[in-house]
């Protein structure tokens, strides 16, 4: 049975400017993640990959990799990155340009703001079914907490806690504020 399985295993899968991204916002950008679920040989390697593009002044909300380290390589353009450790120290806070590599360790929080019209990157993940968790936006870790837990943990009143939970309607990619909205090409 080797011929039907290992010897003929699919070894190539395109994730470049994919026509069917996993997340897409016409004013903010898109990204697609390739895991062992849609590319089985990655299960053998224990790796995954993600290709993303973020438009000018759009934001990738603060997030963290739940179960993987992420090695991010810039394909095009530049963006402002911040990476924070468990003690709240910004271990990276700067611009990343084309051809540069940034390693985002597991569980470290990261956020990205694009400085180019089409900031593109590929991120290699050291787990074949990588998970990310967002710390802001719809369905984020904070919006899924009880209101009173948010209020007491963050030292906020109920109304402020409700704002923190519900104000940002976007899940991953936040379009630039109205003032900076890029002219739609």
């Amino acid at each position: 049975g080797l011929e039907e399985t290992l010897c003929t295993m699919k070894l190539r899968h395109n994730i470049g400017e994919s026509t069917s991204p996993d997340a897409y916002n016409p004013q903010a950008g898109r990204f697609k993640t390739l895991t062992s679920i849609d590319f089985p040989i990655l299960g053998w390697l224990g790796l995954a990959a993600e290709h993303g593009s973020i438009y000018k002044n759009a934001l990738f909300v603060p997030y963290y990799n739940v179960n993987a380290n992420s090695i991010l390589y810039v394909l095009n353009g530049s963006a402002w990155f911040q990476v924070v450790d468990c003690s709240g120290n910004a271990v990276f806070n700067g611009e990343l340009n084309e051809g540069q590599v940034l390693t985002i360790p597991q569980n470290y929080a990261a956020a990205i703001k694009s400085l180019s019209d089409n900031f593109r990157y590929v991120a290699f993940k050291t787990n074949d079914i990588p998970q990310i968790a967002t710390l802001a936006g719809a369905n984020s870790e904070i919006s899924a907490l009880p209101l009173e837990v948010v209020a007491h943990a963050f030292n906020l009143n109920r109304d402020q806690a409700r704002q923190l939970k519900n104000n940002n309607p976007y899940k991953f990619l936040v379009p630039p504020p109205q003032s900076q909205l890029r002219a739609v090409a």
Binding site: L59, V61, P62, Y64, N65, V66, N67, A68, N69, Q82, V83, V84, D85, C86, S87, G88, N89, A90, V91, N93, P105, Q106, N107, Y108, A109, A111, K113, T126, N127, Q131, I132, A133, T134, L135, A136, G137, N139, E141, I142, S143, A144, L145, P146, L147, E148, V149, H152, A153, F154, N155, L156, Q160, R162, Q163, L164, N166, N167, N168, V174, P177
Partner: protein
């Protein structure tokens, strides 16, 4: 483990050797560099939460197993992408539209003797709603494959500005000595980033970063008690005697089934119906003959 790390001449009984005080409790840790713990590839901590104490939400870079040695309360975990399935009915205030009530992911009760399993990177919080302090022993499996950092456990707090319970061992070892200023995973971002990402004002951002929070540590006091959406705890259904009673009942039922096979079909059906409609109580009614055949669904 590294070469002959488990080559013991003798084993030692270990006590916690570091305590981090909080506003409403303490967190004690054993040094993960101890040979016994390093060989086992684990780290250990003991958390004591006073009445009305809330352990702030945090996640860790390795799986955790928590044993509740004493006390009771509620806890929650946040699984990325899962829905907020606990929601309050919408209340419409006089003359206004429905006020947005709260909704959140599942919240559960815990009590003495429970084991709580927390996967890697999953935020977890707990609250003591009982009368006695909660004492929870946590084992962190630092050599688990899910952990892709080193063997020092890191607690990534979502809020507050508490110090790291385990990083002291690394600092002492490395001789860096300097006390890391406590913080949380959001306090390292620029204010502008957070204002834009969370769509909130500067004042809320300052609170998120723990700037206006002088409450000490990872366990804070909730004055007046914590109100969350959670079903009331069921009274304990099974005392030992009730269990024995049920076993006798099951035996009796088994005998009856043998003596009058055709009856039990209904009876069984009736009992099933009873059990279904009286979820907790087991109600037995004397068997009545049905004149029409009941359709089974």
């Amino acid at each position: 483990p590294q070469e002959n790390e488990c080559q013991f001449q003798r084993l030692n009984a270990l006590e916690p050797d570091n305590t981090v005080q909080s506003e409403a409790g303490t967190i004690e840790t054993w040094n993960p560099k101890n040979d016994e713990l390093r060989c086992a590839g684990v780290a250990l901590s003991r958390c004591t939460i006073q009445r009305n104490g809330l352990r702030r939400p945090f996640y860790t870079n390795a799986p955790q197993e928590i044993y509740i040695q004493q006390g009771r309360g509620i806890f929650g975990m946040i699984f990325p992408g899962c829905g907020e399935t606990y929601e309050e009915p919408q209340e419409s205030e006089k003359g206004q539209g429905p006020r947005p009530q709260d909704r959140h992911q599942k919240v559960e009760h815990f009590k003495e003797g429970d084991i709580i399993a927390v996967p890697t990177g999953i935020p977890f919080w707990m609250y003591n709603d009982g009368q006695t302090p909660v004492v929870a022993i946590t084992l962190i499996d630092t050599t688990n494959l899910d952990n892709q950092l080193d063997q020092i456990p890191r607690r990534f707090y979502l809020s507050g500005n508490q110090e790291q319970e385990f990083l002291q061992y690394q600092e002492k070892e490395g001789g860096q000595g300097q006390q890391q200023e406590g913080g949380n995973v959001l306090s390292g971002f620029d204010d502008e980033f957070l204002e834009e990402a969370l769509s909130v004002n500067k004042e809320i951002v300052r609170n998120i970063k723990g700037k206006n929070d002088d409450r000490e540590g990872g366990i804070v006091e909730v004055k007046g008690g914590l109100k969350v959406i959670i079903p009331p705890t069921m009274r304990p259904r099974h005392g030992r005697e009730e269990e024995e009673e049920e076993e006798e009942e099951d035996e009796r039922r088994g005998d009856r089934r043998r003596r009058h096979p055709h009856h039990h079909h209904h009876e069984e059906e009736e009992e099933e119906e009873e059990e279904w409609s009286h979820q907790v109580r087991r109600v037995r009614r004397p068997h009545r003959h049905h004149h029409h055949r009941k359709d089974r669904n």
